[in-house]
Point group: C2
Chain length 342, copies 2
């Protein structure tokens, strides 16, 4: 690959440099043309670099700052007062073309606010969206957006999300003409609220997207579609509900397999297999939500990600930068809007 | 128990009398003071009564009609044109005090429309809500409403749902002062849309409900609260998403446990235990969504319920009738409204 530089908010997330620095070193090993700028407290970062290979360190730079965005900071406060924070400086490196993408595990609201103000949205995009991919029965991931960047959305915004999601899926998964659906409470045209119905009509009128209609909650994980669009309120609750029910199932399974000596004995033997299945389902394997629709690449990692999960987020940022995702979305949106208006 | 009469829409659901009649017979056996009126095509119903015990038949009555509400009927059409349908006649039996509750596995939209028009809402309730209970980690069920009867809801409606859900949980589970939460995209007061935020403020101002604040999707199944309130769009998608992810997990588990001879062999031995766990999680075990806020009791069964699942819905209707749920909700709501206005 051509040389790329990523900016990492080294202080963000529950574990800060303890996770971000080891993940950065692994990323440098994995991607030989990658350079990383770690933004944060040099003293804290250095602790985790002591035994690093010199060949990796040569592609690593530290931008020192002691200010951090706190998890409890309101977005507006973070935007106004955390001018030297590791999160903000990382985004500024993208804005100033010193990095092709940035990754943060910090405060989501602050990250979205700063990214929108500093990087600006692409022409034709009103609001950036937070998107992630989820596992499905067919093993082909599905992209779900918005996950909470936009609490309520009009039909035009949902339409733009559909375009962005489709381009993202095409870019990352190399799926040609990804199937796009709107999340609704029924498949029939009369179902749902005005925003969803009108977005459905807008989507039906463009051939440039492979719009397949409404989809219900029980089909999200079916693998029948590639991109699912909803507002941020519904998307956030959908994603978190999935985590909740998965936890419940695992819990019940554990209880069910520890009652009775013989079952417990057998269960122990096949436990690693069950563990393997569950870890495939672990959200960390799908870590990294992209904030798309901006003139730069911003990837949000789970706050409690470990180094392996954080590495996933870094790799996602690398892929998006390699494929020049913002430019792809911009071009596609332009052609679709031309198509609709002609 | 004192003598109770239930009206069953014998023709509703995917399987009609094939499921509803055997379930009715099992309900009569289970509840010795129960009487049932089966509403539907006598010839079709009779087929399933041929080997029934005479002692049960003495508490069973058939109200013959050949008209049915189709699954594809729009609610307005069903309301105007299906005047002699099994669904409508069953609800009319409740309206006319000939039955204390009715159960249908038919078209949900039509059932809600007919129930609202024929039974009317309770004083102080603007819109009925569809509610069901779900399993949790602590084994104490949680009540979730609304599940799709009301696509969008203002704060006042969400407040009324909280009251109704709390009374239902108290009546059925005998939980004293059930913990009530609003489903939102964060726990902080600033999170969410206007409706949820304002509903939170309304709920904070009454001591008559045990309101505990906002809850996120990943806590639905935690057992931390007893009642969760949201609008019907979010509730429907939440419920169906849970079904979807549960299916995915089961699927992955099956695949994981059939790879390799030894694992397959062991997995076969403990398969019944896994099956037992999964069947506890089966939505059929929690079959029966109540349409509450009406001057009568209406329980909706899954369309594809089998006799065991349909029996659950009947038993739920029996419990609600025994506890005189509509009167309880009415009284509680009156006292809460007095409290707020004083």
């Amino acid at each position: 690959m051509t040389s790329l530089t990523l900016a990492l908010d080294a202080m963000g997330g529950d574990h800060g440099p303890h996770v971000t620095v080891p993940a950065a070193l692994r990323a440098l090993k994995l991607h030989p043309s990658l350079n990383i700028i770690l933004v944060g407290d040099k003293a804290q970062i250095d602790i985790h670099l002591q035994s690093a290979e010199a060949v990796l360190l040569s592609r690593l730079e530290i931008l020192h700052t002691t200010e951090v965005v706190k998890m409890c900071d309101r977005p507006v406060h973070a935007l106004r007062s955390r001018k030297n924070s590791s999160m903000r400086l990382a985004i500024e490196l993208v804005r100033d073309d010193k990095a092709q993408a940035c990754v943060s595990a910090g405060n989501t609201g602050a990250l979205m606010a700063m990214a929108k103000v500093l990087l600006k949205t692409l022409p034709g995009i009103d609001r950036p969206a937070l998107v992630t991919c989820l596992p499905t029965v067919t093993r082909k991931p599905v992209y779900l957006l918005d996950l909470g960047a936009n609490i309520s959305c009009d039909s035009e915004t949902l339409f733009q999300f559909a375009v962005m999601g489709s381009v993202l899926c095409e870019a990352v998964e190399k799926t040609s003409r990804p199937k796009v659906a709107l999340l609704n409470i029924g498949r029939e045209e009369i179902k749902g609220n005005d925003q969803v119905q009108q977005a459905g009509q807008l989507l039906q009128h463009t051939d440039r997207l492979n719009y397949t209609g409404f989809i219900e909650g029980d089909e999200i994980y079916s693998g029948n579609v590639d991109v699912i669009v909803c507002d941020g309120f519904v998307g956030n609750i959908t994603l978190k509900t999935s985590e909740g029910i998965a936890k419940l199932l695992v819990d019940r399974l554990k209880q069910g397999l520890t009652q009775g000596f013989f079952v417990r004995f057998l269960a122990k033997i096949i436990a690693p297999r069950i563990q393997a299945v569950l870890s495939q389902m672990n959200p960390d394997h799908y870590n990294g939500a992209s904030l798309i629709g901006l003139r730069g690449i911003v990837v949000k990692s789970h706050g409690n990600a470990d180094a392996t999960a954080y590495l996933q987020a870094i790799s996602l940022a690398v892929t998006e930068a390699q494929r020049r995702l913002p430019e792809m979305i911009k071009d596609r949106l332009e052609s679709i809007l031309l198509d609709i208006n002609s």
